[in-house]
Symmetry: C2
Subunit: 652 residues, 2 copies
């Protein structure tokens, strides 16, 4: 368990509890809505975030921006000062954003959605034990002799039965080819890899010697825009590493429809399959390189993806997914040999990829995986589950019933279709605050690296802040009358400079422009309308929801108040929100660890009812109404209504 | 049913019953031991086999050797005159071999082993019905609609259950890839190929439209020297075509030991696998070309081979087969995908190859197949089963018990290791008689084509005849004192000219030399010794055998008296012998037609006990004793003893 401390800010005696050991003072402050100037994203280069240490122990780096006297006096940079006890700091006026009033205003929004620790995320689902569907069994066989010349295969089967009670185990002819030498290489000490199928146990691999302590799986969330992977240790249930990459299919189209269209061109389906295979191979490379795990010891793969992504991975023709009556090719696709996908995933020949079952053309295995991973299939509470990606998937229900839909949001939330967008990796601007007086921004980047782009939560933050300070109007157009150089026209289009070239890792200004804002508005409108349509289809209202789970690659960084400010969600109680991060990956992880969870996933898919939004007039109406910041119907957004009215009264 | 007639030869009023319609007079005569001169193998070119038609109807070709007067007078060539009613013919003295006494002598040996018709061969095993393990099912599915948008795969599974009562059918991901368009191509009329596995039904292919009337299999006997294949029609149980080819592995060694040694060289195993795959592909090509069957409609393959051949086909390391304690890699090898063998067998991706289970390193699936195909596993009679090939396999037993062994005969019986040896196909000399006075030969070739070589039965005939006329001694050396140009020395070695270049399709003399005879002696000695060893191991004698089944590629042409004359078998009652032709192919055929027979094959493999001949001193003793023509112990060969004594008395 990471130790947690209380961090106290002066002036104002603002106490921030539960700051984990090693967290930077700047990040803790921003997450508690206490704003300290910082232009460089926490990289230590701008020197603006000076604080003075009052009490407690910190781990702090020296900086050229602080001289020896200042250092002795307790002056530090908030961005590179990490707490290692309860700590009190003073924020000098020069470091404060705007003035003390800002701090006051921001403090009103202190409550936020529940951000779960990795340990908490992995404990969302209970009642399962580590019991993977693929297992390694180490066996010492009795060598043959003149009086016992049973053939090799029968000898192996006999040991499986005698030592593990497994009878009628079927075998894969692939490993039988070298079985004679494998059995003898380490004097009849071998490790078998067996899989528990619906049709009984099957031995899929045989290695010489004992390898039971090396048993790994790769689980994947195959998004239309971004692919995430985790390397799991199946012997102990640990998550060893995580990696992500843009889906290389992007070059054939941004959304599933254009991908399906491309798949119908000659060779198109093969190109798309190879693109995702290449993407996954990159992720596998990164996972095994960062952990130094032997890739031959990967025994299992699980992939969660929407129906189109699953089809294209396996190589299934997705043509009819987009044609009425929207019939998907398959609910349950049998496990496929990884090396047979396209030119082959770079794992052992015995490894099979398990894909999550689909519900409908646009409600796929990723959402089934999310429902499993977040534990909604176990809870009695009526839950709204939203997975925000290129397709926004929405589920309402509990252990008794589940209703689901999918709305095409586009890639804006993953940094796609945005001038300086990027996915949520090192150097992405993830948090933005804008001083209402000076219109100066403060940013935080992932890993405190110099900013090289803006990820989904950063774009939401930026647009929300620009709206709240009156820099943009409710239809997403810049107010060009303001006294700031940051709003400017470039090539005939207005934009806001979020990071100056001087502090940017790109060597150029990082900006948000009106086209970016339009893309974000379309994305949030689709999801808001999807939720509304689903609620209305079961005659529920926001108030009936007992909990709201938000998943998505950026879930970890998203601030719910900012998402509400742009109208992604209405202004319901922020405490009802829980961020589950990448819910699909969470489900894929469970399914790889537990064959009981594999069965649960199949049950979830069977109990889930799809609501089709194509040709759904109610959805179209709700969508058009949401194409405004935050919405045309401000009754969902009373607080923002007040903020915007105040701006109007103040002349912005 | 082919009609059968009686053919009467004059002078002597020798009646030959049961001559099938269309059989040539020459062949019918030779099979009845009535000898008519013929040097050209029945090709019609030598003109020596003149006969005169006395009564009855024949179908006869004109020949330049017969003038118009002769033709009007009823003169014909026996080789191109075919019976189409009961027929009587006169054999002029010029056409008779030697003199009338010969005819008398030969008639004494009229009885011969039972040669079964194809229909009889296919009726050896009863109690099975046409019920292949792989089946095609034609289905009309209900198209999806707005009210019924069940996914494609679930719709297919539902139809399998509703229309055929098959539930929990597993599916192969290969065909799912194109399932959406396949289902729709002919308005939801499809044909599924399903296989009944030990783990339930599995759907392995899906075709648009109705294809139940096209369902074929290829069954193979993979011999060390020769590979035989048949194309079967699984819809009606018919055998459509047969083809054979030398095993291309021959270039890496003639017997299984040299093949195993080669397999241990770098890349050797892959070379050997590709060689047999190439061989089988040639056979498949020939089968589909001769029948115009669509090779995509082949759904099933069965291969019977000895343990080494089976390993090399599947790609299994055979290294330990030849090392004590002689442990084979596997008894039951799971069906392997045909396209995955080497560079791939040229059939559909869904086709799997079933290999017969092995008993021991040198008692393989071919012998199991033979026991199944010949019906020995069903009979109460104590039976000796001999499969004569490069490995001579010997089984004794009945439905209660089976004991088996294998002896390395070498390729002589298949024409291998013999100067002009060839396998039993068109143009091979299959029958040889030699005039004891003139030492002139009469030959018959397969399909009456000009001779291009000598197959196994031809070699046995030739050596037996040479021995009986005193042209060779009991140790296989030529008597060079005889008054015939046919025995001559070429390059320091003695040989007998069987076919002069003038009548040979090769354009050169076809000969038998002493090295050929030595190879044949070694081959027959190994088999005789194997039988003796097996009999002694169960304390039985020849007299205890109620029936003797002889299998082998040449079985159809082999004359048992000639085989006894060289000492391949002792002089037991010729009537106890039945020729089953290619027994392995017969078993492979049954297994492809009937899943009950597939189970029987597994039971046969499990009940068969192996007797190991390697390092078996009894076998070595019996082998050395048999290295003589016909044997060192002439008590097994009283008739030959008399013949040879007569020759000695006569000065030869």
């Amino acid at each position: 368990m990471t130790q947690r401390y209380t961090l106290t800010f002066q002036p104002g005696d603002v106490k921030v509890p539960d700051v984990p050991r090693g967290e930077s003072v700047l990040r803790a402050a921003m997450q508690a809505n206490i704003h300290i100037n910082a232009s460089c994203g926490g990289a230590g280069s701008c020197g603006k975030c000076r604080i003075k240490l009052l009490s407690g122990e910190v781990d702090s780096d020296r900086s050229a921006k602080i001289d020896d006297d200042e250092w002795s006096d307790g002056t530090r940079l908030a961005c590179n000062t990490r707490v290692s006890s309860d700590v009190a700091v003073f924020v000098p006026e020069a470091s404060r954003m705007g003035n003390a009033a800002v701090l006051e205003r921001e403090l009103r929004g202190e409550r936020k959605g529940r951000l779960l620790t990795p340990a908490e995320l992995e404990s969302l689902v209970t009642g399962w034990t580590l019991d993977p569907v693929v297992k390694k069994l180490c066996m010492q066989l009795t060598p043959p002799s003149d009086g016992d010349n049973l053939n090799d295969l029968a000898r192996f089967r006999k040991a499986l039965k005698d030592q593990f009670g497994l009878s009628s185990v079927s075998v894969d002819s692939i490993w039988i080819r070298n079985m004679p030498s494998v059995l003898r290489e380490q004097d009849w000490l071998v490790t078998a890899t067996v899989v528990d199928t619906a049709y009984g146990y099957k031995a899929i691999d045989l290695e010489p010697g004992s390898h039971c302590e090396q048993d790994y799986s790769v689980v994947l969330d195959i998004g239309t825009t971004t692919v995430w992977g985790q390397l799991l240790d199946l012997t102990c249930g640990a998550t060893l590493a995580q990696a992500s990459a843009y889906n290389k299919q992007i070059s054939f189209g941004e959304d599933v429809i254009t991908r399906i269209v491309h798949s119908q061109r000659p060779g198109g389906r093969e190109q798309l399959q190879q693109a995702i295979v290449d993407t996954v191979n990159e992720i596998i490379d990164e996972l095994v390189e960062s952990t130094r795990v032997d890739r031959e010891q990967i025994t299992h793969m699980v992939a969660a993806g929407n129906t189109t992504m699953t089809c294209l991975l396996v190589g299934i023709d997705p043509k009819y997914l987009r044609m009425t009556p929207y019939v998907p090719p398959a609910d349950f696709i049998p496990p496929v040999r990884a090396v047979n996908l396209g030119e082959g995933l770079k794992v052992g020949r015995h490894v099979h990829v398990y894909t999550f079952p689909s519900v409908a053309s646009y409600v796929g295995g990723d959402i089934v995986s999310g429902i499993v991973g977040s534990g909604i299939f176990e809870t009695e509470k009526i839950t709204l589950y939203i997975d925000i990606g290129t397709n926004g998937e929405v589920v309402i229900g509990n252990r008794e019933w589940l209703i689901a839909t999918s709305c095409s949001a586009g890639p804006a939330f993953e940094g796609g279709g945005v001038r300086h967008g990027m996915r949520a990796t090192d150097g992405a601007v993830e948090t933005v605050r804008i001083d209402p007086q000076t219109l100066e921004p403060t940013i935080l980047t992932i890993s405190n690296r110099p900013a090289i782009g803006i990820c989904g939560s950063g774009i939401i933050d930026a647009v929300a802040e620009l709206l709240k300070v009156g820099a943009i109007s409710q239809n997403g157009r810049f107010n060009t009358d303001l006294d700031t150089w940051r709003i400017r026209e470039t090539d005939g289009a207005n934009e806001y400079v979020l990071v100056e070239a001087e502090y940017s890792g790109l060597g150029e200004d990082i900006v948000i422009n009106e086209a970016d804002i339009d893309n974000l508005v379309r994305a949030k409108a689709a999801i808001f309308a999807g939720i509304m349509t689903l609620l209305e289809s079961v005659a529920l209202d926001w108030a009936d929801l007992e909990q709201i789970y938000v998943a998505g690659g950026f879930g970890k960084y998203l601030r719910i108040e900012e998402a509400q400010a742009i109208g992604l969600f209405p202004e319901v109680d922020v405490d009802s929100f829980t961020f589950v991060g990448n819910g699909s990956l969470l489900g894929a992880r469970l399914v790889s660890f537990s064959k009981d969870m594999l069965k649960s996933a199949e049950q979830v898919a069977l109990m889930m009812t799809n609501v089709e939004l194509s040709d759904n007039q109610l959805f179209m109406d709700r969508y058009m109404a949401a194409m405004f910041l935050p919405h045309t119907d401000m009754s969902y957004f009373p607080a923002m209504d007040q903020v915007l009215s105040g701006l109007a009264a103040g002349g912005r």
